[in-house]
Symmetry: C2
Subunit: 294 residues, 2 copies
């Protein structure tokens, strides 16, 4: 693949050079001109379907981020632990969260925290040239936003909108994946490296983001209140093909993704009178499209 | 006031020095220890009450950001233009928007865009030391997030969660304040300097942020659909005192605000095992509290 990793700038001024796009394209143009092999299907063995009254939420899990937690979330899913759980927390501009501490005890115990991982030499990681206040390097692996410290040889999931994490108590090793949250507000990047990040919502954020906010501290919903319910959760690979959502996403290690990021960094759309010259990691969109059967 | 403007760092590494807090306090501790004169009432002559079935949304307008638009929004409010308008756009992770182009023609005409303002020498602006990708300087004036280019002598409103702007068409001078939006997602800072920012939601974001998302492009709600309605909008100063919301907010030019920012930059709360050493402009909270009558 003719795509170089972009060196991360340590300069304050955003990098304005366009490295890969001789002419500036809008996002629809970038996607239209993309090649078929720049798209990929979801990894069905690591994809969850959460069924709500309002529809399906699709989450992709990344074992390279949190192998123990991902394995446990898959196990808990197949054991039926998540079925009919309620959303218990809806904190405005922060997260929605679900889990049942009592029920969880029948199914699982806590795991070592997986807050960071060794940075592999050959993983398909794309770094943005844009400065980030929370890390020296930010980018994507498998369309998941990540941050990295190459000097320390570590990387971790970045808490952007739609990212899935595993709740924990105050001790590092108190999470298990039985209590999960999704970011629904401005990226709470202070959580990075403090908690296990396990995946990302690929479709269905409008369901999770529009629940009525909890008024109690931390957005907790009252015990007695009518709460949103997760009807059932399944691993996509276990779902009959006819019931699957045929979806593909733009590969973050594709040339079109680089062009897309540049198109969002300096928007060529007629409406924009001034181009930003910068993009925040968490403002990079995740293009998806229906998968057409070959 | 014993509060120096903090020089904005041009370094990539976040500034970790604690300038104003000998011991690290949690946010509740900072607020508890604040002095009465570090809080202020809202500027009632520039505050809007938007009444929804779900409750009241309170927006403070800043004439120093957009004098013509603020004056026009106040005039439109008093003329009853906003009463019974529908929310017409609910775009996930972006904005909610209201206005009625046809009705607006009876009330107003477009205004020159007010995207930036000359940077005053003596305004109560507090800059963060934290690096920002979109501007050389970011901070607050009157609790409103702003960004600035001191070399060019300009500053402008920053599109953080809860910020209010005035929609426009493709031409710079096509807005008027008759079409308004509030940011409900991860800060779309690419809008900065592209559109007129006029204020900020002080209370009621959980109402605006939880509307069912529009499924059409840009989150537009269908003509025929049941849409959320703004029952009425009033200028707070015009509302009988007994019907006002007695509220005060922490002054952004107070020493306690600086301590608060530091407390959020490096959270001393037991849960945080690693301190971020940085805070994004749009992650700084806006403390409010009920106003106790003296």
């Amino acid at each position: 693949m003719a795509l170089a990793l972009t060196a991360c700038g340590n300069h304050h001024m955003p990098v304005r050079e366009v490295r890969d796009a001789p002419q500036m394209l809008t996002m629809p143009q970038v996607l239209e001109q993309s090649a078929p092999d720049e798209w990929r299907s979801l990894d069905l063995a690591n994809t969850l379907y959460l069924e709500f009254e309002q529809g399906r939420v699709i989450i992709e899990l990344y074992p390279w981020l949190a192998p123990k937690h991902v394995a446990n979330i898959l196990r808990l899913t197949r054991a039926g632990y998540f079925d009919q759980l309620n959303i218990i927390r809806v904190q405005d501009n922060f997260v929605v969260q679900w889990g049942d501490g009592e029920k969880a005890k029948q199914f699982t115990q806590s795991l070592p925290g997986e807050f960071e991982q060794p940075l592999p030499k050959d993983a398909p990681i794309i770094y943005l040239p844009d400065v980030d206040g929370y890390a020296s390097h930010v980018g994507f692996r498998d369309s998941m936003p990540i941050a990295a410290d190459p000097e320390a040889g570590l990387y971790w999931g970045a808490h952007c909108y739609g990212v899935l994490g595993a709740g924990r108590d105050n001790s590092k090793d108190s999470g298990s994946g039985a209590e999960l949250y999704v970011v629904t507000g401005h990226a709470p990047r202070q959580l990075d490296r403090n908690i296990t990040v396990a995946g990302r919502v690929i479709q269905g954020m409008p369901i999770l983001s529009a629940f009525t906010r909890g008024e109690a501290p931390m957005g907790m919903l009252p015990e007695q209140a009518a709460k949103p319910q997760i009807l059932k959760v399944r691993v996509a690979a276990d779902v009959p093909e006819a019931e699957r959502t045929a979806l593909e996403i733009l590969r973050s290690d594709s040339a079109s993704f680089v062009r897309l990021v540049e198109s969002r960094r300096n928007r060529p759309d007629a409406w924009y009178l001034r181009k930003a010259g910068h993009i925040d990691l968490c403002n990079v969109p995740l293009p998806t499209r229906p998968k057409t059967t070959p």
